[in-house]
């Protein structure tokens, strides 16, 4: 989401980079570009003003003007101030104290509360906690059904809300049930409401009083414009936010709302919603995000993701096999399955430094992975282990069985051959880079 902003800053600083020492007016010029970039990124103009002033104060000091690499210095200051504005460290959910722990999700209509509720449940389940989803939106038609369906998909329990119940009663009953059944975390999905709708804001205040949530999270759309400030302020004043979930981050919104909301409420951004799938939720790391804004990539998030998805035992086995040049189609299938677990290719590729921007508009056909797996599944174990036995009639059978064509099967075999060659080279060079190329460049 921040990619556009980083493009902008980069070109600004490129201009600065070309010069030796800077004069104060050069710095001003650079900062004007930064200001414009931030405004175009939907950062609230007051927040921009403060930000620029802070940067300016430091930039006009000796550390930039005297430096031999002034642009680098300026980038460093902008980077530090970005981290400072976004919050210094990642702030986790407050999961201490007696259980069940209530978490309240609030926000405008269409910001993504229901989806976020389900994603959070999945996130907590992976941490071996027992979450309990509570639909408390009785206004939007089928909102309750939506959360119940998502709960089934995630495999967590969901309170059986009836549309004629009052939200305050719903949450009270749900808390009692959670206590009785021993759930750890109660995630309450409230109706979308306008921050100036007094009646609805009173309702959410009542809900808050009834359950005393440990965390009150504002779910906000990353595409929100200048009004993000008013929205966040109103919700904060009424229900006392403890954090923010920024959604729809995978689009091309520049996400200035993140800076605005943080600046105006002081509440940390805790999570990012990065896709429609239920695993598309990331913990927000201010330092990493600041790096991403400046186009330095986000390697740490990538590694974490990979660690979560990859089976270490299998990886070790694979390593051994690679050494012996015994990489079979069986192993390829394992790899594809692990890749699928890793999440959407697009979101992964964005994390790789220097690549994210370049591949921005490239289409990634995730269905290709599904097709590949289908082809591999249609082979016999023997065929997967000894691909050499694949003759024309076997290929026809495989194509039929997987709903593809013989050409598709051939294409897969060709990529497999290329991969094997690659591994061979890799054994010679022993390069990690080659492995990365193979993993992400198929």
């Amino acid at each position: 989401m921040f990619e556009n902003l980083s493009d902008r800053l980069e070109s600004t600083f490129k201009k600065l980079r070309g010069r030796g020492k800077l004069t104060p007016s050069d710095v001003e010029k650079g900062l004007r570009e930064v200001r414009l970039a931030l405004l175009e990124a939907d950062v609230n103009f007051r927040v921009v003003k403060d930000f620029i002033n802070r940067v300016k104060e430091r930039a006009l000091g000796a550390e930039v003007l005297e430096s031999l690499t002034p642009a680098q210095q300026l980038i460093k200051i902008v980077h530090e101030e970005l981290i400072h504005t976004l919050g210094e460290t990642a702030v986790p959910l407050n999961l201490s104290g007696p259980k069940p722990i209530p978490i309240l999700l609030v926000g405008l209509q269409g910001s993504g509360k229901t989806t976020t509720a389900a994603k959070l449940a999945r996130f907590l389940k992976k941490k071996n906690l027992k979450p309990f989803l509570v639909p408390a939106d009785v206004y939007r038609p089928a909102a309750i059904d939506q959360l119940k369906t998502l709960a089934r998909q995630v495999g967590v329990a969901c309170f059986d809300t009836q549309p004629d119940q009052k939200p305050v009663d719903i949450v009270k009953h749900a808390m009692a049930e959670a206590k009785a059944k021993g759930y750890d975390v109660v995630i309450i999905d409230t109706a979308g409401r306008l921050h100036i709708d007094e009646e609805m804001m009173n309702e959410v205040e009542e809900i808050k009083k009834a359950v005393e949530p440990r965390d009150v999270l504002l779910v906000a759309d990353a595409m929100t414009g200048q009004d993000a400030v008013n929205i966040a302020k109103s919700f904060h004043e009424k229900v006392g936010l403890t954090g923010v979930v920024l959604t729809k981050v995978e689009g091309d919104a520049r996400g200035g709302a993140a800076l605005s909301i943080r600046a105006v409420t002081g509440c940390p951004i805790k999570f990012l919603g990065v896709g429609e799938k239920l695993d598309a939720l990331e913990v927000f790391h201010p330092d990493r995000m600041a790096s991403r804004i400046l186009g330095m990539g986000d390697v740490l998030s990538l590694i974490e993701k990979a660690q979560e998805a990859f089976d270490i035992k299998k990886a070790k086995e694979l390593e051994k096999k690679l050494k012996r040049d015994a990489f079979t189609l069986e192993d390829l299938r394992d790899q594809i399955r692990q890749m699928k677990r890793l999440g959407s290719l697009e979101s992964i590729i964005k994390l790789i430094p220097g690549i994210g921007n370049k591949l921005k508009d490239m289409p990634f056909d995730e269905k290709e992975l599904v097709r590949m797996e289908a082809i591999l599944n249609s082979m016999t174990p023997q065929e997967r282990r000894y691909p050499k036995i694949l003759n024309a009639s076997r290929k026809r059978r495989i194509a039929k069985g997987s709903g593809t064509t013989v050409q598709d099967v051939n294409r897969l075999l060709k990529s497999y051959e290329e991969m094997r060659k690659l591994f061979k080279q890799m054994r010679k060079k022993g390069g990690l880079q080659a492995l990365a190329r193979n993993l992400f460049g198929m």
């Binding site: 414009l36 405004l39 175009e40 990124a41 939907d42 609230n44 103009f45 405008l108 209509q109 269409g110 910001s111 993504g112 206004y139 939007r140 038609p141 089928a142 909102a143 059904d145 939506q146 959360l147 119940k148 369906t149 998502l150 998909q153 306008l194 921050h195 100036i196 759309d221 595409m223 929100t224 414009g225 200048q226 009004d227 993000a228 008013n230 929205i231 729809k248 995978e250 689009g251 091309d252 919104a253 520049r254 200035g256 709302a257 429609e276 697009e346 508009d361 490239m362 289409p363 990634f364 056909d365 995730e366 269905k367």
Partner: protein, 321 residues
């Protein structure tokens, strides 16, 4: 921001014995929104003063706060700056009226006929996630039905959990039939089946609810193209109108949304939703300026009747009170 506008409309049409009393009530209801407005554009014009650089600076800032894009601000202010340099518009009150006139020039585009003439008329409603497509469809259906058209809903959002139920729910309330398949079904096939049904039942207007999709998702945009192609196979010339729904709270990303949706489908008109919030909706000016796509309706709340034809004049009066 538009709540008060609507109330004003009502005031004009209803029989009002005591104008003053109502005005008081009206003011009270609006005090909050007004305050917010004053924070933005109103404030610049509160005190009559000379038009100078400081004024321009403040005005630019106010226009930015309203989510108006920098290019549009240039387009609005450049002709006015010239006039100021020629000795015109030296007082802020004169300047204000001239600025409103410039805004009106941008906004005055004729929206396409609604509903389009074809029978059945197939209308695609598209947009990113959470902008209010399904609710807008319900409101459009309500409006059409009230003016005597027969309507059919086609539930082509087969992705979001319970999206089909949401549309069915609205359909039930208004006695509008809904054509649907299972969650996860091919949306193009739902469209085909729906339009075939609309033809055989001699329905006037078929409203097609599509899944929310971020405009940057290549596959989903391809899917949309396919749906439109398939629609054309079911009914000659379909889709007859493609409506892009934009959330008024959206910032500059709305530009990107229009750009990419336009790549996939010809976008004939926009619906701007959630105009009842405090967002000033200046993005409306930017979109009409950059893309010359007219706005048909604006959404002003959650009720079925909360959809109004877009009135450029009223909009300008609201953004600069």
């Amino acid at each position: 921001m538009f709540k008060w506008l609507r109330k004003k409309d009502k005031k004009e049409t209803a029989e009002v014995p005591e104008e003053k009393k109502l005005l008081g009530k009206f003011k009270e209801r609006l005090s909050r929104t007004r305050e917010k407005l004053k924070e933005g554009l109103g404030e610049v014009f509160v005190i009559e003063r000379n038009v100078d650089e400081k004024f321009f600076e403040e005005l630019e800032e106010a226009l930015i706060t309203a989510d108006i894009n920098i290019d549009t601000i240039k387009r609005l202010l450049t002709p006015l700056r010239i006039r100021v340099s020629q000795g015109e518009l030296l007082k802020t009150s004169e300047f204000k009226e001239a600025l409103k006139a410039e805004m009106l020039k941008i906004l005055s585009l004729e929206p396409p006929a609604f509903p389009p003439e074809a029978r059945p008329a197939a209308i695609f409603v598209v947009g990113v996630n959470g902008v209010g497509k399904t609710t807008s469809i319900a409101k459009l259906g309500y409006r059409l039905k009230k003016s005597g058209f027969s309507v059919l809903f086609i539930a082509a959002d087969t992705f979001r959990a319970a999206a089909i139920e949401q549309l069915e729910n609205w359909g039930k309330r208004m006695e509008i039939p809904v054509i649907k398949q299972k969650l996860g079904a091919d949306p193009a096939s739902v469209v085909f089946e729906g339009l075939k049904a609309a033809t055989s039942r001699q329905i006037d207007v078929a409203l097609i609810d599509t899944a929310g999709r971020l405009h940057t998702k290549y596959n989903l945009m391809e899917e949309l193209k396919k749906m439109a192609r398939v629609a054309g196979k079911a009914v000659e010339g379909a889709p007859h109108q493609n409506i892009l729904v934009i959330d008024a709270t959206t910032g500059q990303n709305a530009v990107s949304q229009v750009k990419w949706f336009k790549e996939a489908l010809p976008i004939h008109t926009l619906i701007v939703t959630k105009m009842d919030g405090t967002a000033k909706g200046g993005i409306v000016l930017t979109l009409t300026h950059l893309f010359k796509i007219p706005i048909s309706f604006i959404g002003l709340g959650e009720k079925l009747e909360d959809l109004e034809p877009f009135d450029p004049k009223a909009f300008v009066e609201a953004i600069i009170p």
